[in-house]
């Protein structure tokens, strides 16, 4: 009985270790698998330039595909790197919301069909039946935020479409942020984000840097005579690792057995 208890305790003690090992192994296998898939995807001629030949980007796309349950090729086609940020195309985002089954298809309410100046998106939660109304986007807002004043802005040439796209992305962030994984749409990134720039300030070139002064030597205090401590001299004892409770060798051997049974 006593032996049985000791055995069980040993199993229980080993379990967390096994669990960690299994988890590490599973993660390694998953990583290797995604790497192989990414390698294959990156060699395809069907993927856009951000992913062609770029295994790392393809691995991210595969990860996103897994999380959003979308086809990896669709993710590659609709995920673009703008100013260094991954971002969705607005059409893909609308498609994802409509295909989710959680909501009724997204609808857009314009103030004027021919010359719209404002728009909001609306959909119904299928489970609760609640109407989910998004933020109203206006051309005035686009101007004040500086979206429409950028060079080549589509807000000036196709305001209706831009109003719908922006309304959809605002709606998705409010009610379905899990689908977009917190990413912005490509139009938004173009409108919001500044291209990355070097923010490290340069020094004034007309000011010569002061020469580094050698550290002053501290004034030397007169050396004190070391205090003498009288102590009993104890002969050194060898402490075995086992006795000290550090059975490291055994632990390593156990681990090796686990990995290579």
């Amino acid at each position: 009985m006593e032996t049985e208890t000791t055995k069980n305790e040993a199993i229980v003690a080993q379990e967390p270790q096994n669990y960690v090992m299994i988890k590490v192994q599973a993660e390694t296998q998953a990583f290797e698998l995604i790497q192989r898939q990414a390698m294959m995807l990156s060699k395809s001629t069907l993927v856009p330039k951000d992913f062609a030949g770029n295994v790392a980007n393809c691995a991210i796309a595969l990860n996103v595909a897994k999380r959003t349950r979308l086809d990896p090729l669709m993710v590659c086609q609709n995920l673009a790197i703008i100013h260094g940020r991954p971002s969705w195309s607005a059409t893909a985002l609308i498609g994802m919301i409509n295909a989710s089954g959680k909501f009724s298809p997204l609808r857009f309410v314009l103030d004027d069909d021919d010359n719209p100046t404002s728009c909001y998106a609306v959909a119904r939660d299928r489970e609760s039946g609640e109407e989910l109304k998004g933020e109203k986007i206006t051309l005035d807002m686009a101007k004040r935020e500086g979206w429409s004043t950028k060079n080549g802005s589509k807000w000036l040439t196709m305001p209706g479409q831009m109003l719908r796209y922006r309304a959809a992305s605002f709606w998705s962030r409010a009610y379905a942020s899990d689908m977009s994984l917190g990413m912005y749409t490509q139009d938004e990134v173009r409108d919001f984000a500044e291209p990355p720039r070097n923010v490290t300030p340069k020094a004034n070139p007309f000011i010569m840097p002061e020469p580094e002064l050698e550290p002053e030597e501290p004034a030397q205090e007169p050396a004190k005579e070391p205090e003498t401590i009288e102590a009993e001299i104890v002969p050194e004892k060898k402490v075995s690792s086992k006795k000290a409770g550090f059975a490291l060798d055994e632990m390593i051997k156990e681990l090796e057995k686990e990995v290579n049974p």
């Binding site: 004043t149 070097n198 923010v199 300030p201 340069k202 004034n204 070139p205 007309f206 000011i207």
Partner: protein, 268 residues
């Protein structure tokens, strides 16, 4: 390193030029040079355009109103068709004085008064100010100089006057600043000023004024452009040092360059 006042046209003596590579470099010289060192080295002295002449006169009347007659003389003649008029004009130019018409003088005076009396500019000048302050220093063993139009006696800014054909929008002014290298000027002048005086001014104000009636003004702060400008002018100084020491003057496009077809052209 030094500041100098009341130099007038003497300030422009000893500038670096294709025939005087040891002269002082300035912002406008560096900006031209950096576009194409080869082009700059083989260029001739830029001739003054009517717009430049009006700008100089406005500067003179706005910043050194008591001294304008040292540099300008109003013609008594309606035109320079007569022999007497031509003789007067040539004689005036020979003395280093620019002949102007009364009409030009009156126009420049209105412009100068409009900008100096501007409601948005006035608060910056209440503590008093110095005008046309020349700054001399060196960077990387290159002699550099600049002349700030208005240096308020206290505060955190330097001010420069700019005449412009028309003020249409903020975006238009941004383009003007970047295309004419005013951000280089802002960075270089602030750096020169701070290095010489030991102050820490960080704002650069451009006082734009239209060169035609009704002479609208715009007082803009381009401090946000300073870092970019510093990057530009310091790189230009390094390039200048390299070109002068090696006597090699790079072209805008060097070597046998393969042009890349732009994306928009493929779409067409």
């Amino acid at each position: 390193m030094r500041l100098e006042h009341d130099l007038g046209s003497k300030y422009y003596e000893g500038s670096a030029s294709p025939s005087n590579l040891g002269g002082y470099v300035s912002k406008s010289m560096l900006f031209d040079f950096a576009k194409s060192p080869w082009g700059w080295k083989h260029s001739k002295a830029r001739e003054s355009t009517p717009a430049m002449a009006l700008g100089s006169l406005v500067h003179c009347l706005a910043l050194t109103p008591k001294k304008w007659q040292e540099d300008y003389a109003i013609s008594e003649f309606d035109s320079y068709r007569t022999k007497a008029a031509q003789e007067w004009r040539d004689d005036t130019i020979a003395k280093g004085i620019t002949p102007i018409t009364n009409e030009q003088y009156e126009q420049a005076l209105i412009i100068a008064d409009s900008v100096m009396g501007d409601d948005d500019l006035q608060p910056l000048l209440v503590a008093g100010y110095n005008t046309e302050v020349a700054m001399y220093s060196e960077s990387d063993a290159i002699n550099v100089r600049g002349m700030v139009d208005i240096a308020p006696k206290s505060g955190d800014c330097l001010i420069d006057l700019k005449t412009i054909s028309s003020i249409t929008s903020e975006a238009n002014l941004v383009n003007v600043v970047l295309n004419r290298g005013y951000h280089w000027q802002a960075a270089m002048y602030l750096d020169l000023w701070n290095a010489i005086t030991g102050e820490n001014r960080y704002r650069f104000i451009l006082a734009f004024i239209e060169s035609s009636a009704p002479y609208e003004t715009a007082i803009v702060d381009i401090s946000e452009f300073v870092e970019l400008g510093r990057d530009g002018y310091t790189k230009a100084i390094s390039l200048w040092k390299k070109c002068v020491s090696e006597d090699t003057w790079t072209k805008t496009i060097s070597g046998n360059t393969k042009l890349k077809l732009p994306h928009w052209a493929i779409k067409q």
